[in-house]
Amino acid sequence: MASALMRKSYRELTRHRIRSVLTIITIAAAVTGLWLFAIPLGLDNAMARRAAADQLHDIRMSPNNLLYVGDPAERPSADQMISAEELDDLRALPNVAAVEARPIMWTQLRRGGDVHDIWLVGVEDFAEQHVNIVSVEEGEAPTAPLGGLEALLDPASALTGGATAIPGEQIGIKAGDGEFYPFVVSGLGATIRWSAVAADVGPIVYVPAETVRLFTASEGFNTLELKLVDNAPDAAKATLAEVRSYLERVAPEMTYHDVPDVRAPGSWHGKDQVFRMLPLLYVISFMAVASALILVSTTMNTIVSQQTAQIGVMKAVGGSRRAIVACYLRSVLLLGGIGTVIGTVAGVIMSSAFGRFVQEDLGGIRAMWSTNPWFVIVGIAAGLGSSVLASLPALRRATRVTVREALGSHGVADGREAGLLERATRRATFLSSPTQLGLRNTARRRSRSLATSAQVALGVGTVLAFSVFSLTALAATQITLQNESGDLRVYHTPGLFDDDEARLLASRIDVDAVQPVLYSKAEFGGDERPAWGLPADPIYDYDLSAGRWFTDEDVTGVARVAVIGRPLAAMTHTEVGDHIDLGTKSGVETVEVIGIDENLVHDGKFIWLPLETAKILENQPFPNVYWVETTSPEPEVVDRVAEDIRSVFAAAGNSVTVDVHYRDMAAAAAEDRVVVGVIQMLGLPIVAIGMIGLVSTMTTNVLERTREIGILRALGARARHVRRAFRAEGVALAAAGWLIGIPVGYVLARVIVWFFGRAMHTSFSLVFPPWLPLVALAGVIVVARLTLRPPLRRAVRMRPGDALRYE
């Protein structure tokens, strides 16, 4: 049988159910907020497990090793290729655990009336894979082409190309001869390496390697993926050098269509983006916990002050300080315990759902998410610990109440002195008495009002900070996109533009100017970077903070110079005048950095090279992209030119992809709006906690002042008078919270933007428009008035007789 004190602890919570429920919700929200920390770590673990299961490559190379059997003139010599035996020798190299060689093809998929650009990935044997294992998630693995054409679709393809075919459906895939051949989708399959491409670049279709060879009328492979025994950066680099040296020995004239990719241990596609969001998650967690601490503290203080008389009685009948503390501590632990359990369950669900969403959206991967038991333990300890911590002032107060003081209060009498704020409201004689009543009560209960306003301020501050962060990021994105000039970007798919094609482009109606560009990549600073060959007078609006741009002499003279983005310069500690080593398709080349560009194209981690230099370094005699400026930026003109270019190249038997800049900008803006929406959503729980605090305080005020409501009603106050008094109180608290929230939001925004800039090795100009606090004020007033409805309804519905008898 529970002791009387134990029963009292429990009944305190059931007696004021609404207040208890609100406190529990807040604690639960705070504990749930803590689980935001679990998202990046959980995601990292899940992706690591998936990477291990898929045998994600450590080194990927892109040799041009396909043997074109259809055209004897293009048949490579033995010096340009490696044989099956030589591939076996590669497997035997030290530190090489496994090698997978695959043919891949850039082509098109037709489903119904829709045509998508896709990568066709050839898998030698679906039953026996060693690196980047494609696992069948639904249906069957495709059979060899002789048994009919079958394909396995990567489900992440839906993210980029909208290719959402289901197993059993018939699709068409374009072969090297330009014809679409019918395929049956045998199933859905994925591997972490290619699903990332499917999620980011375009749809991926897996077929037997023989199918790719059949479609390209060739033999061999053009990707080489290696799994290492030791994938530490130094060991991986040494192994890459050894592999390169071996390949140079057995096939000295072999060329590459891409730079080698050495994957950093533990890295996965999208990891940077996820971890870049960490400051936001930290802010949310911190605000949720701070908000909950304030609310628990206020609630416990209220309980103690409401029960001053009861504490006096307990002391009068011999209750020791320890017994009284134990009584209230039990109430706290009950509230904290229930809130923590709910918060933990909600946190597990939220982090798991959010983590899955992120990994599927960013990485296109369904990884094996599991809950880390340490997080459960830490979450429970934090939930209970913070509840107890927050209630310490109230517990201390409870033990200090004297019997005489405790037993001496009744009625609506309030022994507190009028403070400065309260005296100030007296001068506002234009306000009605009910409004004055509300405002003076707010001013008189300073601690509670301050705590409630602080909670609202945290909510307002979070929303402001997230809005400022979003606006800052949007502004940076828009400036970046505007600098990427040219109304159209025309890509040869695959291949290069020769001079005739360049002339064809320039001759189209409404084309004002065309500019050749070579899109490529180079390894620098431990990772693969976009390395574009640009002319001396590019359409692109560079924004140099140091050094200079290329001269005509640099371009024509094939100068070994480069302009790099500031974030890349910052992270590699590179300055103008430094010489840097670039890993290119033709090997390591040293170039001098002559300029630092502030633009954030590719997050600022780019390398601009003089066009002719890039051609040499990339072994590409022609550009693979043309930037096109039309005679008018009007959408109809741009669209007409884009369509004209597509059709004229298609008629000539060449495939081009045309990106329309204004559409890209609109798409980026739409995408940004989604991201901003998600960011704002992340801030909503803090707003919710702030509003819970407001409701809790107002409910407590209504409860505490029940007798006062009875008096007012007895004196002839109508519902609107009672409503006005409490609404004035609630709106004043919300408005004070808004006022405090502005500097809080500003500081938070600065912190978030600073962290974000630091993660990107750059800095952003804070965008804090003056209208934002005004919008926040309107929002706060509206939300406050909505959240105040339940306590106001309670106040108004009270019968004066019941209110006067209320204890």
Partner: protein, 257 residues
């Protein structure tokens, strides 16, 4: 003490004024077969078991009875603070048992002045603001008129020099006088007081009952609840309540405890 509380007051016509000061030929208060049962969870407690009480205009009536007899319930019923479980309540020509809470609040603001045992002044308002409050609820007069009227009422109860004092800065007797000034705000037909001297010392209690009798002499109907025999003896008539029933209504017949 000469009181001319109802002279010179300007009454602004409002929606509440429709309910104000109904004049009839019968008694000012008529309770017929009034029952009141309080329910707390599964428990039912009958406070009034079918009482009939009338109070004529200009009467000074004391309601007496032991604790829990139902005397405060009668006050609550005739002011519309509580609703009867059965029976009819007619005050100043209005059927209170047929009104909803909002109508009752409006009616009360204009027709009844209430003085509570523990004064029940609002701690955040000054004496003047407390005394103005019912006028504001009833929408009576302009702000200037309300201030003037509340000031007059406070001066008449002897608190002209305490206008800006908060309740906690006043003694018990002074607080009770503010409560009376507040009750007089809308020049009601009926003044009810629940144990008006219960929380005062003998001297303050004496002043209080003087004030009530003076108001009655000026024509106001006054009904009060008391435990104190000497206070009850000052009334024209004493209504004695026992176990929720009227034990005696007429001359002074002090109930046996």
């Amino acid at each position: 003490m000469a009181l001319r509380l109802m002279s010179g007051a300007t009454r602004k016509r409002t929606d509440a004024s429709d309910m104000a000061h109904s004049v009839g030929d019968g008694p000012l208060v008529r309770l017929e077969g009034v029952e009141k049962v309080y329910r707390t969870g599964r428990l039912e407690y009958p406070a009034l078991r079918g009482i009939d009480v009338t109070v004529d205009r200009g009467e000074l009536v004391a309601i007496v009875g032991p604790s829990g007899s139902g005397k405060s319930t009668i006050l609550n019923i005739l002011t519309g603070i509580d609703r009867p479980t059965a029976g009819t309540v007619t005050v100043a020509g209005s059927r209170l048992d047929e009104m909803n809470e909002e109508e009752l609040a409006m009616w009360r603001g204009v027709n009844v002045g209430i003085v509570f045992q523990f004064f029940q002044l609002l701690p955040t308002l000054t004496a003047l603001e407390n005394a103005m409050l019912p006028m504001e609820f009833a929408g009576t007069g302009t702000a200037r008129e309300r201030t003037a009227r509340a000031t007059t009422n406070l001066e008449l109860v002897g608190l002209g020099d305490r206008l800006d004092h908060h309740p906690m800065e006043l003694s018990g007797g002074e607080q009770q006088r503010v409560a009376i000034a507040r009750a007089l705000a809308c020049t009601p037909d009926l003044l009810v007081a629940d144990e008006p001297t219960g929380n005062l010392d003998t001297e303050a209690a004496g002043h209080m009952i003087e004030l009530l009798t003076a108001l009655n002499r000026d024509g106001m109907t006054v009904v009060y609840v008391t435990h104190d025999r000497s206070i009850a003896e000052r009334a024209h008539r004493v209504v004695s309540i026992r176990d929720g029933l009227v034990a005696n209504s007429g001359g002074i017949s002090w109930p046996q405890h």
